[in-house]
Symmetry: C2
Subunit: 176 residues, 2 copies
DNA sequence: GTGATGAGTCACAGGGCTGTAGTTCCACCG
DNA sequence: CGGTGGAACTACAGCCCTGTGACTCATCAC
């Protein structure tokens, strides 16, 4: 990771990571929320955990995406409890192909979907409420916010070319 | 019964309304929840409000649909706070044409939609999380539950023929 | 009148924060 | 090397929301 040579995107500029305070600013949450989430294991800084007063948390770019995704879900009126369930699956996945994917939450079952058609299928056959979060939006927001808050003169280019996308079911919790 | 002459569906049998206890059973919630919701103005019995100890609440069939819709949203991990917002708009609408309609919640904006195509549009252009609740499911569940819990020998038939369906935006809250 | 039913009330629990007052670590200065 | 300042984490109290349990109390049917 540290020896990363990928070009482009605000991502590359900050291989050194983001402080707790900055992460909160970029994700658009309060510091207290960030702290609470870290202490309760919802989103933890993957580059450096806190280890007592005076230590520093260090969030990776990917962590920022998670923080922002959590905030989006919260803004949409979803209970933190469900968000926790979702992310306990999601953490495994959610890599670089985040850009064109939709996160679909049906009850406690979570999926990553690309095509709109398949989502329509879900709609047609689905019983419960469907929560759909376009992860692309999350990435865009984070990138925009980084540039906005910390322009730092450094190079900021377009994103890398698209890869293949496929639908993946990433988890399913016990039924209600 | 009363002066109602509509045929079919468990609806017709209970023009006299449902007691609080029954309403809770049918909706699949606890009596305490029903009580709390009534006292905090989320779903109130439209046929008879409580007016002191010893009085009785009376819920209409339509109230049952609301109760069940609230429960569905809750089960889907949505915060009661958002549900309140949604229903403050929804209460105006939500009539008999509930059967083929989807309730779409995007942020704090609420819509009733029929065609899947239009939902796809929302997906494609939408920024935030979309919560989609098929109201048809709600009605089916309520009907099934009534028959299941109170078969009462009375006639129970299929539902009335379809009417026209149209998309209607029913409300939009202040932006975040 | 009597008892069952169901609304009213109160206290309290758990989740999700928020505010504030520490604490600790680190960098920098001399 | 010791002192100083500041950034960031921690501890803890407290608030609001959503119930829940346990009673109490008013009605109604008999």
């Amino acid at each position: 990771m540290a020896t990363d040579s990928t070009p482009a995107s605000p991502r590359a500029e900050h291989a050194d990571g983001f402080s707790g305070k900055r992460a909160a600013e970029i994700a658009g949450i309060t510091y207290r929320q960030l702290d609470y989430w870290a202490r309760t294991d919802l989103v933890r800084p993957s580059m450096a955990q806190a280890s007592g007063s005076g230590s520093r948390r260090l969030y990776s770019y990917r962590d920022l995406l998670e923080l922002r995704a959590v905030k989006s879900l919260l803004d949409a009126g979803i209970r933190l409890e469900l968000v926790r369930e979702v992310f306990s699956y999601l953490t495994v996945q959610l890599d670089e192909d985040v850009t064109r994917v939709n996160l679909v939450i049906s009850g406690t079952s979570v999926m990553v979907r690309t095509g709109e058609e398949e989502i329509v299928d879900l709609l047609r056959h689905g019983q419960g409420v469907l929560n759909i979060l376009p992860l692309s939006g999350v990435k865009e927001q984070v990138d925009a916010r980084i540039v906005e808050l910390y322009p730092e003169g450094r190079r900021v280019a377009g994103r890398a070319p698209a890869d293949e996308y496929a639908d993946k079911r990433i988890g399913r919790a016990a039924s209600l």
